[in-house]
Every structure is written in C-alpha cells, then in structure tokens.
Amino acid sequence: MSTSMFELFARNIDRRLALSRPGRKVANKIFPHHWSFLLGEIALISFVIVVLTGIFLTMFYRPHIDPVLYTGASAVYEGAELPAAYASLVILTYDVPVGDIFRRVHRFSATVFVASIIIHGARIFLTGAFRKPREVNYIIGLLLLLLGIGAVFTGQILPYDVIAGITLRITYSFLLSIPYVGPQLAFWVFGGEFLTADVLYRMYVMHILIIPAGIAALVTIHLALVVRQRHTQLPHPRVDGRRWIVGTPMWPWQFVISTSLFIVIVLGVLLASILVPWNDTALHGPYLIGNVSNAAQPMWSLLWVEGALRIIPEFEFELLGTVISQVFVVGVVMPGALFGGLFLYPFLERWRHPVHEPQHVLEHPLDVPLRFGLFWAVSTGLFLFTIAAMNDYIARTIWIDVEAVTWFFRITVPTLPIVVGAVAAWYAATHEPLWGGQHEERSEVERDPHA
C-alpha cells in the first residue's frame, strides 16, 4: 500500500514535534451528548463568523466624521455630502461587490453571538453548572457576555447614523449622571464635551481591536478550563457521573457535530440575511446634532435599559453635594445591580447551601425551586422592560395613549415578576424530584471496563 503525500508529511511533522500522543488525547476527549451543550459552541461559531466578516468590513470602513462627497451607485446619496464613516458604509453597501452580504452576515451573526451566550448562560444557571469547581468559568462567561454586548454596542455606533448619534448622546448622559466623578469620566471617554470627533475613532478602536482581543483571550481561557475540568454532564442511567465523564469522543463524531453546526449556523445566518435586510443604513440617514427619530433604539440586548428609561417616573434630587437622578439609577445602578447579582450568585448559593465535593452532575431546573423562581422573576422583569421600550410603537399600533401604555408597565414591572417567580418556584417545589437519587453508587464502567 502506497503512502500518501499527506501521511508522509504528517509523519515527518510528528517526528519533529511529537504530536501524536497528545493528539490522541485530544481525539479521545469526551463531549456530553446533549443538545444543550452545543449552545456555547454556537457562540464560538458565530464569533468566528463575526471576526472573519469584520476583517473584510474593516478594509473599507473610515472612522471619521468629516464630510466627504459621495459619488457612487446609491441613488439616494449620489452627490451628497456625508460624514466619512457614513459614506464608507454606503460605499460598502452599494459599491463594493459582496460588501452588502458581509454587512448583513456580520450584523446577524453578532446577534446570534449575544443571543447564544445568553441562552447558554441560562442553561448554565438553571442546571447549576456554575457550582464548584466551575465558578471561575462562570465569571469568565459573564465577562464574555459583557464584552459581546460591548461589541454590538460599539458596532452600532460605527455607522454614525441617527441611531448611533442618539445612542452616543444617551451614553454621554449616563456617564455625566454618575455622582461626583461622572462629568470628568464623560470627558475622558468622549474626549471633551459632546460631540467630539474623537469619540467615533475611540469606538472604532474598541470595536475592532480591544473588545475582540478580549473576547478571543477569554474564550481561550474558557475552553482551556473546560478541557482541564472536563464538562459537566446530565445524570447517566448506568455511569456515576461524579467520577466519569460519558459521551462522544472528539474524533470523529464531536468533530462532525461541531462542523455540521458551523455549516448550519452559516446557512441560518445567510437565510436570515436574505429574508431581513439587516443592513438598514439607507433608512436612517447620517447623524446631525438636533436630529432625532422614533427608531433611535439600542440593540435588543440593551432594550431593557431603554424601557426602564421610559417607564420609571421622574426623580432628581441633590444629596451630599451631588445629584441622584433617574438617568443615573437606570443607566448605571440597574445594569450594575443585575450583573453584580449574576457575578455573585454562585457564591450566594454556596453560602446558603454549602457544598464541599466537586459538582459534576447537573441538576434539573425544577429540582431547585428557589433558583428556578429567581430565574423567572428576573427574566420576566427584563422582558417587561424590553417590551416597555416599544411603548410608543404599541400605543400607535393599538390606538391608545402612550401614557396609558407607560402606566401599564409602571404597574406590571414591580408586580408581575414577583408573581411569575413565585408561581415558578411553587410549581418546582410541588414537583417530584426529576433527577433525584443521582448520587447512588453505580458504575457500569467499573463493572465491565471493556463493554
């Protein structure tokens, strides 16, 4: 049998680098065989797509606000003076072959990235995968979510359209409102009083360098820790999951599953980009101070902050030489409290229910009523705030006053999450344990090693 060129090459590389033994270890790495373990992979895959499409887009983008004359294929903007950033987007969309595809795919995969991190995080939270020894990876995951939101946020600024301008303006107001240090902080971030030419360039550097580098570094650590600590797993009928990890080896079937998933995500992103024109630059127009639009909304993962800005009643009072305002509480205190709570949660739960053994086997969400109730309470609150961000749209659509819609949310937001959370916790508490008894001694692996 003749040796192929590839085998010859591989053998020669191996004789120099000795990769076959560690390579076999990687090939034999076990992955739990359950769909919920693929959510994190979807995030990784969409990150790869976002980076690849982003590199292409960076070749054409101009992070400047000085006006330039646009001449090109767009009939709307032909002969118009546009901010350089906005003009470069129009060029990408109308004049660069496949530029529009790249913009649409980039934007939609970014949505998939943040969404899959959130759903992956919900899975981790509900099944108790954050418990000892995985608290560190839970924290890294939350940091990745923050960076993902930051990436989409800065990305939304780059077109320098009306939405970008208003988003910048409100962000500036958030910073200004921070007691004592806020105004100076706002000047540091923006390079002076709103609006500066620097700020777009700074958002650009964050978007194309600092945030992606941060995500890449944290993803590497995140995966390295999964390899080091092994995956958690669902209770197995025949194997003691505390001492064994059961599932599919990396080669070939986990590789096939992951690659298939990659192709499916590409496919889904392409189809979504065909059906929805995710690039809607032409709709909004470039930002000019004084201009505003009802459509000026942040991306969906921050809509809940926008909703809170709309429905929480006004207050503004002086206290100890500073001002405490609605904008400060909504823009800084509330997001801080949400993420602070998420970061602290594993430690709060461990303080309430001390565990000393490593927890490798997952819990059924319904088997931990308090956690389940908390999840639904917070989710309901965030959902209501998110819907509240569309109060003007709802009012217009169903022909009632925006004041009435606002009052609806002012009443439901403080009450409904408590009701939903309590019902969820009660339902879980009355449920028979689903994955109970998982800690009985049993192991087919040890009885019959070579089954």
Partner: protein, 283 residues
C-alpha cells in the same frame, strides 16, 4: 478508536452498514456544492441581486453539509465512551524558602505596595484622554441672532401660527448645547413662562436638549402646546415654561431670553439661566 489512552473506555459502539448508495450521495452533494459556488461567483461578477448571491452560498453550504455527514457516517462507528474525571484537588509541596515567616510577611506586603504604586502610575495616562471638566457653555449671549437649521436668520414673521424652527446661535451651527426650538404657541403663555422673554405675543424659545437623557425634544403638538421627546416620551408644556407634564424628565427645558433687534431679527438677550440638558453628577 482504541482504548490505549489510560482510563478511556468504550461503552457502546455501533458499526454502520457498508452501502454504496452512500458514496453516490457524497459525490452528488459535492457536485452540487461546486455548481452553487460557480453560480455565486457568476452572480457577483454579473452583479445580480445580493439575495441571489447569498442564496447560492446557502445552497453550497447545505449541499456540503449533506456530503460531509454522509462521508463520516460510512467511515467511522458511532461510539459512546467514558473517561475518568481528573482529581482537581491535588496538593503540591511548595518550593521551600529559607526566610523566616515573620520577616517574609512584612517584606511581601512592602513589595506588593510598591508594585501597586507602579500600577497606579499606569492610570495616569487616562487624564490625557480628555480635557478637565467644565460646565457647558453655549454660543448664546446678548444680541446673538437666531439662525435656523436651513441656514437663515429669522424674523418673528417667519414663524407661522403653530410653527416651529430648530435654531442655533448665529455662527455656531449644529452645536449641541446651543440647540434651541423656537415655537409660536397656539395660546397665551402663562407663568412660569418668563413672559418678558416672549416675543410677538406667542413666540418662545427653549433649549432643545431634553433634561432627562439629552435627546433632542423633537416634536411639538400644537393642540396642547406640548413638546414631546421621541426617545423616552418626556412631555413639556411649552405654554407654561415647559414644565414636565409626563414621563421621565424632572426639570423644565431652559427658556432662552428672546428679543428683536433694530433690524427686525430675532436675537437672544443672554445665555440660558439654568443647566442645559440632563443632570450632571457634579453641580
């Protein structure tokens, strides 16, 4: 897969049937992939619809997915395997030091403090990121004329009944804190409107920067003289000193002192007397 790796165990193994139909699928799917890629390239070169370009790519991806999975399905058995979890709580003997504990602790803390000082020094460049904070100033002052967003100097008669205009101080166009909305009210203004700053019966000017989160208060509703912010629905009564009547804003929009100069143009007689825009953490 063999179990020569220590601890790696195969629990379950399913060997696929060897069928020729499988090979046909792999070849067919690969062919469709290549054709779809060719269609994509042609579509880009001939500048067809972008949706069509993406559809060609999608077909290529789908066909490749089918071929890829069939290829592996015939080549490898399905396996469920197990490996022992590593013990993460392993004690390692520390590298021995010769310094006594009592002295070491003091020295360690001193050195850590020094390292912290260097760390603080690395924060100094942050101060270069922006100028020192100072409260906002606008281009408004005594005798400064009002120039509209269309670039015209305005006279009272330029604003019709229930008409509005977005204006800036003459010479400072598109300046954030100087943005003003000029309104001809549909009824007599009353307190707390500064009536001495009302011109021509019903012409008033307010800062357009919302006192809630800084959006431009973009909409004027003549029926009840309300100014309405499209961002968060703060509403102000323009006939009553623009006091907030609904929504998240706490303070009225500052009123611009308004007059008419000798040549009949609208002018400011000074700057705003209250803070323009959203609250600031430093008064």
């Amino acid at each position: 897969v063999t179990s020569d790796d220590e601890g790696f165990r195969i629990l379950h193994r399913r060997v696929p049937e060897d069928v020729r139909a499988n090979d046909t699928t792999v070849v067919g799917a690969s062919a469709i992939t290549v054709v779809a890629v060719v269609v994509f390239v042609v579509a880009v070169v001939l500048d067809w619809e972008v949706e069509l370009q993406m559809a060609a790519l999608a077909v290529a991806a789908l066909a490749f997915l089918v071929g890829f999975r069939r290829y592996f399905a015939a080549a490898y058995p399905q396996i469920e395997a197990a490996e022992p979890r590593p013990d993460l709580e392993v004690e390692v003997e520390p590298i021995r030091e010769i310094m006594p504990m009592s002295r070491r602790r003091v020295l360690t803390r001193t050195l850590a403090a020094a390292a912290g000082a260097i760390g603080l020094a690395s924060l100094v460049p942050i101060a270069s990121l922006g100028p020192r904070y100072r409260p906002p100033v606008t281009g408004w002052g005594p005798g400064v004329r009002l120039r509209s967003d269309k670039g015209e100097l305005l006279r009272p008669e330029d604003i019709p009944d229930a008409g509005v205009a977005m204006v800036w101080p003459d010479g400072v166009p598109r300046e954030e804190h100087g943005t003003v909305i000029l309104i001809r009210l549909t009824r007599e203004p009353e307190s707390p409107t500064r009536l001495e700053w009302v011109v021509d019966g019903g012409l008033v000017a307010y800062s357009k920067v919302c006192t809630h989160a800084g959006c431009p208060v973009g909409l004027y509703r003549p029926a009840d003289n309300a100014l309405y912010c499209p961002c968060h629905q703060a509403q102000f009564d323009a006939a009553r000193g623009s006091i907030p009547i609904f929504g998240p804003a706490s303070r009225p929009l500052p009123q611009l002192p308004l007059d008419v100069d000798d040549e009949g143009y609208l002018v400011a007689t000074g700057d705003f007397e209250e803070l323009v825009g959203p609250p600031r953490g430093r008064v």
